[in-house]
Symmetry: C2
Subunit: 478 residues, 2 copies
């Protein structure tokens, strides 16, 4: 068939002109978004130890995706959580506030349980709410643990959607099954029947599966996250992917089961790592990587009484449930190609800093009508300074201030190991003093050599204690 | 001046033809070398712990060059030394044999001292001798500790040249100075006057400096190594750079002193790291990087009684002087761009494997008239297999077999911590049993659950013991 070439050219020109506004519009939108509203992906593990990733020194767990994230992004070696157990740590991340300020920390019940009637108060402002106010699409996928009643679920706290187990994966335990710790002690590859833990999966506010098939839970969380990213590729988004694992009971999908050298614990971490790889690959495929900040960390240190089913804090002391470094310092990665200068960051940071930092990056306003315990890390993240605005951390356990860190100095007012296995509780008239730069393992108490330092830390702790107003406790309601 | 253009062309042609054989010869030599004889650089530290590098998880020591080496090359997480203290470990590296086989290990004197009359026997064949036999230029720079009398020095063992302190940097101690451990306990930044340790620097066989200026020793070792590489760029070479540090007493050069967050110990590691960067940069500048295998490791684990002046084994148990993993597993890197597939290697390897491996790569013949304890890692290094020829390690301490590892299983026949601070010596009728894959920290003795495994390990250990012929002890001669 012969077509007049002039006609072809004319048609092409017409199409081009017709399409131009659309093409230009898209480009403009992308440029505007890149400059104004980055996406945020927070991948949050449960009971992952400081030493459990390859890039943080584990010898038998393979984490090539997280290792790559560390090299392409920033590996933070002094990054903390707001509490040494689940519920309060999650409250801290999402609100930028110490959980002692909003009733999410208790000496009587350390976390929320299936019979709990409390949860994160409606008056609290979460990262999701802050970002929503400036047009973000928001999703929570995975473990919530800030109240499983409808009024406390993610959809009541600024998330457009929720899909996950609303508390720990070892809750709703059914009688008549073998004791997990005892079985774990005997078999590093053991996994329990899923019927042993009758935990639900909730979609928004409705139970959609019970017991949750935990063998596939890590994969499904990753898939839900990727689905959300694909669905919201054209608008700014925030997705909070909170894995239930490696909290016990441990389960890995078929692709990973029995594959690691570290038993099922390693299989679990390798599956999480693989999921991280898929999330990053999706961002790259959609060309969103240059406009998305991905943060990887965990809620608290390794749960040590579970033998090889618990993780490792590496060279840090103790683990979950304690205010030693192993309980509250987490292996943390920030990834944002083209924006973050790759390398190791040894300055202090904490999950509570994410709220003010995300607000700045998104052009949102962080709450100003209440005390925030988070600092805006933007200047440090973007390389405008080498100094962190965070120079201190307050280590609360249950309802008491156990320790304080200022710069490299850490004073312990009370020390106590993990329940059942660690050292007994001890109150110190003269605090123990450690220099976390010289002595990251908290081995050498040098209080006797630095009385001035102690005085300063005691004063800072006292001032901080004075700033706390006690409020209604949410964890004891049932 | 006018010159006939034909004449110019004729001259140029003549020069070109005259130079051609030389040019071609050089190219041919380079091609042949690239295919046949790679260079070897071994950088060996002293008392560096498994957890002391950034890429092995240290939170406050910056090692960007070693981290880069880990990413561009291979990070080995199950790489061992042949003994848990200095002299025997070095003998093992250089001969590919357990020191119990050549009298370089003793229960009475654990290492050589300035009053020692013994050393590595002339009958032993070192890596340097093996490589020399196929035309390599060889140099030893740094700590020797295999005999300081002329007949034992590097120049008597296959090295063309030597420059360094012939034993540990805390020897030849002069009376009247403060106790190092006590001072170190008080001050993480302390360094002793160099006069406190009257150690010599020997060039080939002559003392050229005494006391050695240890403030500049790390820098000078690096410089000597680079000088050797430049001088021998056109022939195959082997250089053994054995740093005296971070063995105590600690010293750092001006550029690094006070710069790390880890006190002087960190300053020292950061200076070593910087030196590694300079060596790699030199190889790249000279275009030798594609033809040079660089290996970085250390002689044994951290020396724990020295407070913050000792290193950290990370998540591994105990340190120097012990047969726990912290005593004998080292942070090890292999770098050979274009030849080694980058990544993490979790298979077993050991310093004793370097001799047979280098021999294969260099086309030299490894000694066949004696028992070698090293395995040829070439197929694994080059990616031809994922299985290490080394599936076992024998952990000797002094003159007894304390433990054996086969695959992931490790049986302890005798356990004992570091002298003075670790657990007391204990012989076990039923060995303790650990699974180093599931439990790299040797926390959970599972002997009671695996009696078959114990039997197998006991039999392998017994067979190994039978293979040892006791010889004249070199360490007790004085």
């Amino acid at each position: 068939m012969k077509v007049e070439s002039r006609t072809v050219r004319a048609i092409a020109t017409t199409i081009l002109w017709a399409a131009l506004p659309m093409l230009l519009g898209q480009v403009t939108a992308q440029v505007a978004r890149a400059a104004e509203k980055p996406n945020f992906v927070v991948i949050f593990c449960d009971d992952l130890g400081y030493g459990d990733l390859g890039c943080f020194g584990h010898p038998t767990i393979r984490t090539p995706n997280l290792d790559r994230m560390a090299v392409e992004g920033q590996k933070w070696t002094n990054f903390y959580v707001g509490a040494c157990v689940c519920t309060p740590s999650r409250a801290a991340l999402l609100t930028g506030r110490l959980p002692i300020r909003n009733g999410m920390m208790s000496a009587k019940r350390r976390v929320l349980f299936p019979d709990s009637k409390g949860g994160l108060p409606a008056s609290e402002i979460t990262i999701a709410e802050s970002l929503k106010s400036v047009g973000y699409a928001t999703a929570a996928v995975g473990k919530w643990h800030l109240g499983h009643l409808p009024e406390y679920l993610p959809t009541a706290h600024g998330f457009d959607s929720y899909w996950g187990i609303p508390y720990s994966n070892d809750m709703d335990a059914v009688r008549g099954f073998p004791n997990y710790a005892q079985t774990a002690r005997k078999d590093a590859n053991y996994f329990a029947p899923i019927e042993q833990y009758n935990v639900p999966i909730i979609e928004d506010t409705k139970v959609v599966e019970r017991p949750a098939n935990q063998h596939t839970i890590t994969r499904r969380y990753t898939e839900k996250t990727i689905e959300f990213i694909r669905d919201h590729r054209d608008e700014p988004f925030f997705v909070y992917l909170a894995h239930n694992l490696p909290h016990i009971p441990l389960y890995a999908g078929k692709e990973h089961l029995g594959k690691s050298r570290r038993g099922i614990f390693g299989d679990v971490i390798e599956e999480i790592d693989s999921g991280v790889g898929k999330v990053l690959a999706t961002l790259q495929e959609l060309e969103l990587d240059k406009n998305t900040l991905v943060v990887f960390t965990s809620d608290n240190g390794p749960w040590l009484p579970f033998h090889t089913h618990g993780g490792s804090a590496g060279l840090l002391r103790e683990g979950k449930g304690t205010t030693f470094e192993g309980g509250m310092r987490e292996p943390t990665l920030f990834w944002w190609p083209g924006t973050l200068k790759p390398g190791v960051r040894m300055e202090m940071g904490a999950t509570m800093d994410l709220l003010p930092t995300f607000c700045t990056l998104a052009g949102a306003t962080a709450p100003s009508d209440r005390t925030l315990d988070g600092y805006d890390l933007t200047p440090l993240l973007l390389g405008k300074t080498d100094k962190s605005p965070r120079d201190r951390l307050f280590y609360w356990r249950e309802e008491q201030l156990y320790a304080v860190r200022v710069g490299p100095w850490k004073a312990h007012f009370i020390t106590q190991g993990c329940y059942g296995i660690g050292p007994q509780r001890q109150e110190h008239e003269t605090p123990e003093l450690y220099h976390l730069g010289h002595d990251p393992s908290e081995k050498y108490d040098i209080a006797a050599l630095h009385t001035e330092q102690i005085k300063e830390l005691v004063a800072i702790a006292e001032e901080h204690r004075q700033s706390i107003e006690r409020v209604e406790n949410q964890l004891i309601k049932r």
